[in-house]
C-alpha cells in the first residue's frame, strides 16, 4: 500500500491533550475507547485492508493523526487509486449510516484544517471525512486492543471499572469488558461481557447505544482473560468482604442497611466456611447455618479440585455461576416446581458443576476410551470424580455418589465423541 509514508508524518504529529484521538476518546459515550498510540497507527501493517472499508481513507487517517494535508502525501497516490477511492466512498455510504449520526465535536480541529485543502473541500466533504475518521479509528481500535500495548491499556481501564459492572445480582458487581457481537461495522452496538456469568449485556446508559460493537470486536474479552489469567475477576465486594470491609463503589448498589447486614453476616460465615465457593444465599436467612454446614460437608466430600481447569484458574471459571448463584423462584417460601407451567426452565444457563473435574473433557474421554491427554501411557485412570449434579437433590450417602459416578459419565458422554476429537487432542485412539 503506497498511500502513506510514515516517516513524513511522524515529524508533524504529536499526541497532545488536544489531539484528535484524545478529543474523540473524551467525547461523551466514548468512555470505553482506549487511546490508540500513534506508533500503532503509523505502522502500515496494522492498517492492512482498512483502505477498502473506509471511504476517504487517506483524509480520515490524516485527520486521526492531526496531520496537515500535505501535497507530498497525496502525490503518492496515483490518479487511478484516487478514483477508486472516490467510488468506494459512494459504495460505502450506506455502511456508514450509524456513524454519521454520531456527535463529531471532537473532530472539529481536524476538520477546520481540511477547509483549505487543495481541492477546496466543501462542508459536506468534511463531515464525510469526520465520520470516516471515526469509522477508521474504530476499526484500528478493534485491532489495537488485541495488541500488547493496547490490551495493557485496556487492563488499566478495566481496573478503574471504566466499563462498568455486571447488572446480574449474583455476579455481585463483577467488572465487565466491552465486546462486539460482530466484527463488521454498522451492524450492532457495543455490548458488555461479564466474565463471571459468561454472558453479554446491553450497557446501562443509552449513550453507549450509539457506539459500534465492531470497534471493540468479538475477540477482545476472550483474549483479555487469556492474556491476564492471574487476574482475579471475582467482584471487589466479595473480595473486600473477606477482609471485613465493604467496597465503596459496590456499596452504592445496596441500601446502607443492606451493606451493614452484609458486614454483620461476614463474621459468622467466614468462621464456618473458608472455601472460595462458600454458598451465599441472599434472602434465605432461616436455617442458613444448617444449609451452609451441609454444603461444606458436600464440598469436603468432593475429589480434589483442580487448580486450573481448561486453561483457566478454577476460581476464575464463571465464579458467578453454579449452586447458590442461581435464582430460585419461591412463593411464600415454597419453591416453584420445575413441573409447573411457570416453573424454572433456565437454570441450566446459570449452572456449573460442583465438581470442576466434570469439565475436564479430555481426561474424561481418555478415561473412557483409553490413552492419555499427553499421549503418554495412562497413569491416572483411577482418578474418578464424584458427580454431584447441580440441579439434583443432594445425595446424602457415599454410595449414591459412587453409583452416579459410574453411570453418569458414560450415559452423558455417549454420542459425543465428536466434540472430544474436536477439542484439539493430539492423540485420539479408537473407541474402547
Amino acid at each position: 500500500m503506497p498511500e502513506f509514508d510514515p516517516s513524513d508524518m511522524s515529524a508533524t504529529s504529536s499526541q497532545g491533550v488536544d489531539s484528535w484521538i484524545a478529543g474523540f476518546c473524551n467525547l461523551t459515550g466514548h468512555e470505553y475507547f482506549a487511546e490508540v498510540s500513534e506508533d500503532f497507527i503509523e505502522d502500515d501493517f496494522n492498517l492492512t485492508g482498512l483502505q477498502a472499508q473506509v471511504p476517504m481513507y487517506k483524509e480520515a487517517l490524516e485527520m486521526i493523526l492531526d496531520v496537515e494535508p500535505s501535497e507530498t502525501g497525496s502525490s503518492n497516490l496515483s490518479e487511478e487509486e484516487e478514483e477508486e477511492e472516490e467510488e468506494e466512498e459512494d459504495d460505502e455510504e450506506g455502511l456508514l449510516g450509524e456513524e454519521l449520526d454520531q456527535p463529531v465535536e471532537g473532530a472539529q480541529n481536524g476538520g477546520n484544517r481540511n477547509q483549505n485543502r487543495r481541492n477546496g473541500r466543501t462542508n459536506s466533504d468534511t463531515s464525510v471525512i469526520e465520520s470516516s475518521a471515526e469509522l477508521l479509528y474504530g476499526l484500528i481500535h478493534a485491532r489495537y486492543i488485541t495488541s500488547r500495548p493496547g490490551i495493557q491499556q485496556m487492563l488499566e481501564k478495566y481496573e478503574l471499572a471504566h466499563f462498568g459492572y455486571c447488572p446480574r445480582v449474583y455476579c455481585h458487581g463483577t467488572k465487565v469488558l466491552p465486546v462486539g457481537r460482530t466484527d463488521t461495522p454498522g451492524q450492532e452496538t457495543v455490548k458488555l461481557f461479564c466474565p463471571s456469568c459468561l454472558d453479554i449485556y446491553t450497557p446501562p446508559n443509552s449513550r453507549f447505544q450509539a457506539v459500534d460493537g465492531a470497534f471493540f470486536g468479538t475477540t477482545f474479552p476472550g483474549l483479555f482473560l487469556m492474556t491476564f489469567p492471574e487476574l482475579d475477576i471475582a467482584p471487589a465486594k466479595k473480595r473486600s468482604r473477606d477482609n471485613g470491609a465493604t467496597n465503596e463503589e459496590t456499596e452504592s448498589i445496596l441500601s446502607p442497611n443492606e451493606a451493614a447486614q452484609h458486614q454483620g453476616m461476614t463474621a459468622s460465615r467466614s468462621s464456618s466456611l473458608t472455601l472460595p465457593s462458600a454458598p451465599l444465599i441472599p434472602g434465605v436467612n432461616t436455617a442458613k447455618d444448617e444449609r451452609a454446614a451441609a454444603q461444606a460437608a458436600m464440598l469436603a466430600a468432593l475429589p480434589p479440585q483442580p487448580a486450573t481447569i481448561n486453561g483457566v484458574a478454577a476460581q476464575n471459571l464463571a465464579p458467578g455461576l453454579g449452586r447458590s448463584k442461581i435464582y430460585e423462584p419461591k412463593i411464600y417460601g415454597f419453591r416453584v416446581s420445575e413441573r409447573a407451567k411457570g416453573g424454572p426452565r433456565m437454570r441450566w444457563l446459570r449452572s456449573k458443576p460442583l465438581d470442576l473435574n466434570e469439565l475436564d473433557e479430555a481426561r474424561i474421554y481418555h478415561e473412557k476410551y483409553g490413552g492419555n491427554v499427553d499421549g503418554d501411557p495412562d497413569d491416572e485412570a483411577d482418578e474418578e470424580g464424584g458427580n454431584i449434579e447441580d440441579n439434583e437433590e443432594e445425595e446424602g450417602d457415599g454410595d449414591a455418589v459412587m453409583q452416579s459416578a459410574s453411570t453418569r459419565p458414560s450415559s452423558k458422554r455417549k454420542g459425543k465423541p465428536n466434540s472430544k476429537s474436536k477439542a484439539g487432542i493430539a492423540n485420539v485412539p479408537g473407541g474402547g
Binding site: 476472550g222 441500601s255 440441579n391
Partner: protein
C-alpha cells in the same frame, strides 16, 4: 422532597398523598393502593408493630391527617407513611386488583427491560430477596432468563425489596401464564479470533447436558411438551436437542464457527 410535600399539603389538600407518592421521582415501581384496601384493617394486620406512629402514618396515606405538629415530627410521620405504604404495597400487589395494576405497568415496561442481550428487551418485574424490611434492596426479575438484576438507576436501587416481596413476580406468572415469555436456548459463546474459548465452551456443553436432563425429566413427568415448545428454537413435535450445533450456528452468524476450540 419531603419539604415539597409539606408545603404543598399545608396549602392544598386536593392533591392526594398516594397520587403524590406514586408520581414522585424514584417511585415509578409502585402502583396505587385502593382506598378500600387500605381502610380494611384486616389487610394491615401486624403492621402496627412495624411502623412508628402507625395511626398518623395511616391517616396521612388516606388523606385524613389533621394533626398539628412540629416539622420534625411531621417528617418522621411522613417517613413512616412511606414505609407503611411500602409494606401494604407488598400485600396489595398479590391481590387480584393489585396484580391487574402491576400487569399494566409490566406491559408498559415501567420496571425496565432485561439488560441481557439474548433476552431481547424482555420487560422486568420488581422483586425482593426478602420479605423482611431493611434487608435487601429491590431487584428486577426477568421472566425469560429467570434471573435477577440490579436496577439501572441508583434511586431505584435504594427502594426496599420488601415493598414488593419474594412471591409477587412468581404469583403474577402463575395467575397470568400467558405472560410467561417463551424461553430461548440462544446464548453467548466467548470466542477468540472466531474460535470458541475452551473453558467457556466446555462449560456450555455441560450446561447443554443439564438442559437435556431437564427436558428428559419433564418428558418423563409428561409435562405438556406436545402442546407447547420448551424453547423457542425447538422444532415442532420433535426433540431438537440433537441439532443443537446447527441452531447455535444459525444464531451466531457473525463468525464462521470453526470446529476447534482453543485453550
Amino acid at each position: 422532597m419531603m419539604d415539597d410535600f409539606a408545603s404543598e399539603t399545608d396549602s392544598d389538600y386536593t392533591s392526594y398523598w398516594r397520587d403524590w407518592f406514586i408520581s414522585s421521582r424514584g417511585n415509578e415501581y409502585f402502583c396505587e393502593i385502593d382506598e378500600e384496601y387500605l381502610t380494611d384493617r384486616f389487610n394491615l394486620t401486624g403492621l402496627q408493630t412495624e411502623v412508628h406512629y402507625y395511626q398518623h402514618a395511616l391517616d396521612l396515606i388516606t388523606d385524613v391527617f389533621d394533626l398539628d405538629c412540629e416539622d420534625d415530627m411531621r417528617e418522621t410521620i411522613e417517613k413512616s407513611a412511606r414505609h407503611l405504604y411500602g409494606l401494604v404495597h407488598a400485600r396489595y400487589i398479590v391481590t387480584t386488583r393489585g396484580l391487574v395494576k402491576m400487569v399494566e405497568k409490566f406491559k408498559k415496561s415501567d420496571f425496565g427491560k432485561c439488560p441481557r442481550v439474548h433476552c431481547d428487551s424482555q420487560p422486568l418485574l420488581p422483586m425482593g430477596l426478602s420479605d423482611v424490611p431493611y434487608q435487601k434492596s429491590v431487584k428486577l426479575y426477568c421472566g425469560r432468563c429467570e434471573d435477577i438484576y440490579n436496577p439501572k438507576s441508583s434511586r431505584h436501587a435504594q427502594i426496599d425489596g420488601a415493598y414488593f416481596g419474594t412471591s409477587f413476580h412468581n404469583i403474577l406468572f402463575q395467575v397470568y401464564p400467558a405472560l410467561i415469555p417463551q424461553k430461548s436456548r440462544r446464548r453467548y459463546e466467548p470466542r477468540v479470533f472466531g474460535f470458541r474459548v475452551h473453558a467457556g465452551a466446555a462449560l456450555a456443553r455441560w450446561q447443554a447436558e443439564e438442559r437435556t436432563d431437564m427436558r428428559k425429566r419433564l418428558k418423563d413427568a409428561n409435562i405438556g411438551l406436545d402442546t407447547t415448545k420448551l424453547f423457542i428454537e425447538d422444532i415442532d413435535g420433535q426433540d431438537s436437542e440433537t441439532n443443537e450445533e446447527a441452531i447455535i450456528k444459525a444464531n451466531t452468524v457473525e463468525v464462521p464457527p470453526p470446529s476447534t476450540t482453543v485453550r
